[in-house]
């Protein structure tokens, strides 16, 4: 913690999941960094790619199975429609606290100077093309490229 007295200069946030709460957590962290004058870059990999996939980003869900914090019996969580219901409830609550939807949030991040990168390997695995993704994406890069982006003192990496 000696560099810059431990001051955070740059956040490199890796998003690997597409559940609504994980996507929002990563977005809030990136946006919050910029609001504090900290640089931020995001790397979307594996299911995290859905958060920047134009055809999918508006249909992200909250997981109702395997999510003990919902305090819902696992069997119930698996019934048809339950996940959609929980997702709608969550979206309503988020609107109340002035939380933007996923697409608007991406626009806010981009306007705030957050760099958005898609993982090349995961893009190939899911057969996604750059045209399928959010228009203002900064690029499709390798893990090595992302590490290079994060070089320098005061950089922190976070895996969501």
């Amino acid at each position: 913690m000696n560099e810059f007295n431990g001051e955070v200069r740059k956040m490199m946030i890796i998003l690997s999941k597409a559940t609504l709460e994980n996507v929002y957590a990563a977005f809030v962290l990136a946006n919050g960094a910029r609001m504090e004058g900290i640089e931020a870059e995001m790397f979307f990999t594996f299911f995290g790619l859905e958060a920047i996939h134009k055809g999918k980003l508006e249909h992200l869900h909250t997981a109702t199975v395997g999510n003990p914090a919902l305090h819902m019996p696992t069997l119930l969580g698996g019934l048809p429609g339950v996940e959609a219901l929980a997702t709608n409830m969550m979206k309503k609550e988020m609107e109340k606290i002035d939380m933007p939807d996923v697409l608007e949030f991406l626009d806010i991040l981009k306007a705030s100077g957050v760099k958005l990168w898609a993982c090349k390997l995961a893009m190939e695995m899911f057969h996604y093309k750059k045209e399928d993704m959010y228009d203002d994406l900064d690029g499709v890069i390798t893990v090595g490229d992302f590490y290079k982006q994060g070089s320098g003192l005061g950089t922190h990496m976070l895996f969501v």
């Binding site: 919050g32 004058g37 002035d98 933007p100 306007a111 705030s112």
Partner: protein
């Protein structure tokens, strides 16, 4: 605590935000801006006036809201007040630092 800004004594908190808006003057704003290495242009003043009006209306501030204000978009807001724009702009405007995560 108190500090000297633009040849007047003003009350500030430990982060340097004015605690009494009545003590704010354009000269005080210039002094705070200079401290933050920001030179105020007419565009800055438009944003400052907007922030002060929102404050007077008890309306909570966030980056999203500023983007929808019609006064400035988010990109320009970051250009006008580099680094931490909401913190810097509210400080110059003489209003409290917003407790907002978005």
């Amino acid at each position: 605590m108190q500090t000297q800004l633009a040849n007047t004594t003003v009350d500030v908190n430990e982060e340097g935000y004015l605690t009494n808006f009545a003590q704010w003057t354009p000269a005080v704003a210039e002094a705070i801006a200079k401290d933050l290495n920001i030179t105020l242009t007419p565009r800055h003043w438009e944003v400052i006036t907007y922030l002060q009006n929102e404050y007077k209306n008890d309306s909570p501030l966030s980056i999203r809201k500023i983007g929808k204000s019609g006064v400035v978009d988010i990109k320009e807001f970051y250009q006008l007040f580099p680094n931490a724009p909401l913190k810097a702009a509210t400080k110059i405007a003489g209003i409290p630092k917003p407790a907002s995560c978005i």
